[in-house]
């Protein structure tokens, strides 16, 4: 079953994550890093959830990853694949959707790349993934 395009609600944007969403509007995906413990984290915070330092900054990420886990939601009008994707070169996984794919041909460990999916209204697009 090929994934149909699903209407996605726009994210609510607050001051803490404005920079992240503005970058996405410009076609860039940013990952938040801590300069103290050097670890990335997700979703982005100003204060590092790993070590507590407030010396954090955004860096552009490759947008490549592999599927950590997924599930195809079938008992809804438009079936869709939800997933956690582990980002390339990190131990960080983000919740996302796998789009533009055959929903019956997904697997854990599958290589995927980021594509931006439109949302309702004037909101920014969302980072989603599709099989490489």
């Amino acid at each position: 079953m090929i994934a149909e395009k699903r209407t996605m609600p726009a994210p609510t944007i607050d001051p803490e994550t404005q920079e992240y969403w503005s970058a996405i509007e410009a076609g860039k995906f940013l990952l938040r890093y801590c300069n103290a413990c050097e670890a990335p984290h997700y979703y982005p915070r100003t204060i590092c959830p790993h070590c507590g330092s407030d010396d954090t900054e955004f860096k552009e990420a490759s947008g490549k990853g592999i599927i950590y886990s997924y599930s195809v939601m079938r008992r809804v009008p438009v079936p869709y694949a939800i997933a956690y994707v582990t980002l390339e070169g990190t131990d960080i996984s983000m919740m996302t959707n796998i789009v533009e794919c055959d929903l019956d041909d997904l697997h854990v460990g599958q290589e995927v790349k980021m594509v931006f999916s439109e949302t309702e209204g004037d909101g920014p697009p969302l980072p989603t993934f599709t099989p490489v």
Binding site: S69, S71, R75, M95
Partner: protein, 388 residues
């Protein structure tokens, strides 16, 4: 300070309704409170501590204490979803041990069926929570979040749908003896794996029921417990733990039970091998399997083998679980199954379970709950109770 032996569960009540179109939410709470107090042989005038969670209307304890006409000197509205009520029992024991109250009332109620709530399949928006913009647009639902845990468990450990199905089969064997259970037909592994896929790899029969109703518990000081004409159900140990995404270091293979369980066992000074009966939160079959591993009833990754072949069926298996039929077959009031987990554990210790599922010489039990979502962030609560 330990709570071991400092408080007892004197009253327990499961509301008989499973669909409450003609009752208000506050009314259900009050009916559960009345039932549990009558079960204990107490009245509302005896209550000096009150506990409720996010299912309570309005300002929680303030609204319901006022509605029920309680006069209390201690209150607690700890909210960890469906595990709240196990944690409330522990907090009530702590409050009693430190002299803050002597008779603590805990209530739960809800009417998701009457309200037509799409509990499992509709994404839930938790408002201004900081994670919402990074999750809600992707349509996380109750069922697909637990399904991702199952997918990962299958990938890492080779767990199968048939093994998960055994958990529903065991629950159905118990539910056939419970006249109030929503699903009383005994099902087979084939029935479960042939039921429609809701969200891969979970089938319809891997999911719990959706029901209205509720329940209540009365936790009391030792001298009050001994003055009542009820079996003595002692609180021996408790543990609570939150688990989340750990800043993106997501690991869906284990639950907060890996932390709350050992804490409870240490406080009670017993081991998993000592437990005669276990109430295990069963929103989905995978929930049970992962928690059994994390609580130490089997090694991580061995849950599939542990639950297979009827090992959870009372009278047949080594670890009888959820002998009321659990959330999978009996009742999951307010989409929060922690309360009914404690209630059936109390029945087992009192010898008041249905004779067909009563565990012989049942003197030590465990009750465990999960609230929130194993796929994102959840609270775990473990209780160990003993018949004195």
């Amino acid at each position: 300070m330990s709570i071991n032996g400092k408080a007892y569960i004197a009253g327990a009540f499961e509301h008989p309704t499973r669909k409450a179109v003609d009752k208000s939410l506050a009314q259900l709470h009050a009916e559960c409170a009345k039932g549990a107090l009558e079960d204990a042989g107490l009245t509302k005038e005896d209550v000096d501590g009150y506990f409720c969670a996010g299912d309570a209307p309005g300002l929680g304890p303030l609204s319901l204490i006022d509605y029920m006409g309680l006069k209390v000197r201690h209150m607690d509205s700890t909210e960890t979803g469906g595990s709240s009520y196990l944690i409330h029992v522990a907090h009530a024991a702590e409050a009693i041990a430190s002299g803050k109250c002597k008779v603590a009332l805990i209530t739960l109620a809800g009417r998701p069926r009457a309200e037509g709530m799409a509990t499992g399949t509709a994404p839930r928006n938790y408002g201004p929570s900081p994670d919402v913009p990074f999750e809600f647009p992707y349509a996380p639902t109750v069922v697909n979040m637990y399904a991702m845990c199952a997918t990962r468990h299958m990938h890492e450990f080779g767990t199968t749908s048939e093994q998960l199905a055994w958990i529903k089969v065991a629950a159905s064997h118990h539910a056939q003896h419970n006249p109030k259970a929503m699903l009383r037909d005994v099902v087979t592994v084939e029935d479960v794996v042939n039921s429609p896929l809701i969200s891969d790899p979970l089938h319809r029969l891997d999911c719990c029921v959706i029901s209205d109703g509720g329940g209540a518990l009365v936790v009391v000081a030792p001298e009050i417990a001994r003055s009542l004409n009820r079996p003595l159900v002692k609180i021996k140990g408790a543990g609570e733990a939150p688990k989340g995404q750990m800043g993106g270091r997501v690991d869906l293979t284990y639950t907060g039970a890996a932390w709350s369980g050992p804490t409870a066992f240490a406080e009670a000074d017993v081991t998993p091998a000592d437990i005669k009966y276990a109430s295990i939160y069963d929103s989905f079959t995978i929930t049970v399997l992962m928690q059994l591993e994390d609580l130490g009833f089997c090694a991580k990754g061995e849950g599939g083998k542990f639950v297979a072949d009827g090992n959870l069926i009372s009278g047949t298996g080594k670890l009888p679980f959820n002998t009321d039929g659990g959330g999978l077959c009996n009742n999951h009031p307010a989409n929060r199954g922690g309360m009914t987990k404690v209630i059936e554990a109390v029945r087992q210790l009192r010898g008041e379970a249905h004779p067909a599922v009563q565990v012989p010489n049942c003197d030590l039990v465990l009750a465990h709950g999960t609230g929130g979502s194993l796929g994102t962030r959840h609270g775990s609560g473990t209780l160990i109770l003993e018949r004195e």
